[in-house]
């Protein structure tokens, strides 16, 4: 029992099949992995391998009727639906999905308003988050006035506002250019360190996965299953180790594993 509780996320024999007009499409097959508390784990796989389906299943959002699920997912011992309703999951999507009619500040405040916190408490939390994200001077800005990276930072702040157990990130920096992406990678590690959250990060980029995570889950192509789990044994901050041979070794290993998985 103890063992289960120290693990925030467990996926056990997870299989998902889409049934549409008597056609069966198996997207996920027998997926097994676990994420420990306060761990940073990345999921990488060929495009169209069902990463987003997996993401949706873990997020606990209502699935379509055509999707048949076997196996189980547990988040802190709860079903994803329960975890979602208990506000244990913070979603950060590919697009920042901010509301333009609210300022940066009140975008971060949105979940707190919905939960029903008092105004002083909301302000206090938002102030702290703005400081953490280094966005204090942009508090009164409209989201479109910010750059893509900063918009994504606001959406991270919004997810952190209600203090969820697990942060789910679905290629959050996919739309950014190389330089900004690296900058955001460094910042997300910083935020992770300061907030002690468990993060599950879906990405397309091998380098990003190695740079960020302690563990990389490599998925095969459809119907996808876990091909290999690579433990990245590099110290943080990663900025200091990017030029070491060990770092390159991990990148090569991940690339080779991904190539095998795609075959």
């Amino acid at each position: 029992m103890d063992n289960i509780q120290s693990k925030t996320l467990i996926a056990k024999n997870l299989t998902a099949t889409f049934t549409d007009n008597c056609k069966h499409l198996k997207v996920l097959q027998n997926i097994n992995f676990s994420v420990k508390e306060k761990q940073f784990v990345s999921i990488i796989g060929p495009s169209g391998c069902g990463k987003s389906t997996l993401f949706r299943l873990i997020s606990g959002l209502p699935t379509k009727d055509t999707c048949e699920i076997e196996g189980e997912i547990r988040i802190g011992g709860m079903k994803p639906e329960t975890a979602c309703r208990n506000r244990e999951i913070g979603l950060i999507l590919q697009k920042p999905t901010l509301l333009e009619w609210r300022t940066v500040e009140s975008n971060i405040e949105l979940p707190l308003e919905i939960i029903g916190y008092k105004k002083e408490k909301r302000r206090e939390i938002v102030k702290k988050l703005l400081k953490l994200l280094d966005l204090t001077e942009y508090a009164e800005y409209r989201p479109t006035k910010l750059s893509g990276g900063m918009q994504q930072k606001v959406s991270i702040g919004r997810a952190l506002a209600y203090d969820p157990e697990l942060l789910l990130m679905d290629e959050p920096f996919g739309a950014l250019d190389e330089i900004n992406r690296r900058k955001m990678d460094i910042e997300i590690l910083d935020i992770w360190k300061k907030t002690n959250k468990t993060i599950l990060f879906i990405t397309h980029s091998i380098e990003e996965a190695v740079f960020l995570s302690q563990k990389i889950i490599v998925l095969t192509k459809k119907p996808s299953t876990v091909h290999k789990i690579i433990n990245i044994d590099l110290p943080y901050p990663r900025k200091k180790v990017v030029d070491t041979p060990k770092y390159f070794k991990y990148i090569t290993e991940t690339r080779n594993t991904l190539n095998e998985a795609t075959k």
Partner: protein, 287 residues
Amino acid sequence: MRYLKKHKEKKRKASMKRPRWSFFLVQIRKTLLTILVISLILLIWEYLINKYQIPKRILPKPTDLLEFFKKEFLMKHSLRYKTVLDKSLKSFSDAFIGFTLALLIGSTLGILLSKNKLTYTIFFPFLFLLQLIPVPAFAPVIATMLGYGYTTKILIVVLFTIFPITITVRNTIINIPEDYNNLLYTYGSTKIETFKKLILPSIIPSLLSVMKIVCTASIVATIITELPLSVIGGIGKDIYNSFNNQMIPRVWVSVMIISLISLLFFKTISYLEKYINQTYRYGQYTI
């Protein structure tokens, strides 16, 4: 930050070149030009009618209109007499009531239709039928049921304008990106909260733009219904009677006045739309 400074610098320079009141100069020039064109048209009109001796009951001259105008507005009438302006305003106020009702009922229907497919499949054919039937032609049918009264008039205005409102509201709600709904779901949002925080702000811009289309339509509907219905007080009825009595200048002036009111109504809503969209930025997302 550097960019911001540069931007401010640019703005400052631009405002130095052109003084603030230059905006009014442009506006005045525009207005003068419009007045000039209109007076030119009036002059040509007067000249052509004089030249070809067209009788007043077919096409009145601008001076005939002016004469009627003087008689109607500058001379003293009995207290019970209502000028064409009073009657136009009465028609406008009825149109406005119909317009407001159509907005309320139409948006509510749009929200209901967006909720699930079943309500949509049940109610949409009826709504579409409303759009297919020429409502003014349908007016007598309603009149026989509800009588030739005020209720019929308002009901017809509502029927005439409700369809675009409902469809716009429904489509806007359906087109809200799914990600936003998902996010609010993870915040544990109730249906009422989602409506308040996401749906309501999202429909405001499209509602404003459909209001622009519907506002003039509501006036048209009022006038049309006044023609066959004997509801007193409206300008439609007055136009109908004046036409039958060959008081053609009166018809012309009435048409001009109601058009002007229509224009003002439209302009007010346009301005409102521009102001609200620029200030509050409702219904805009970061994509």
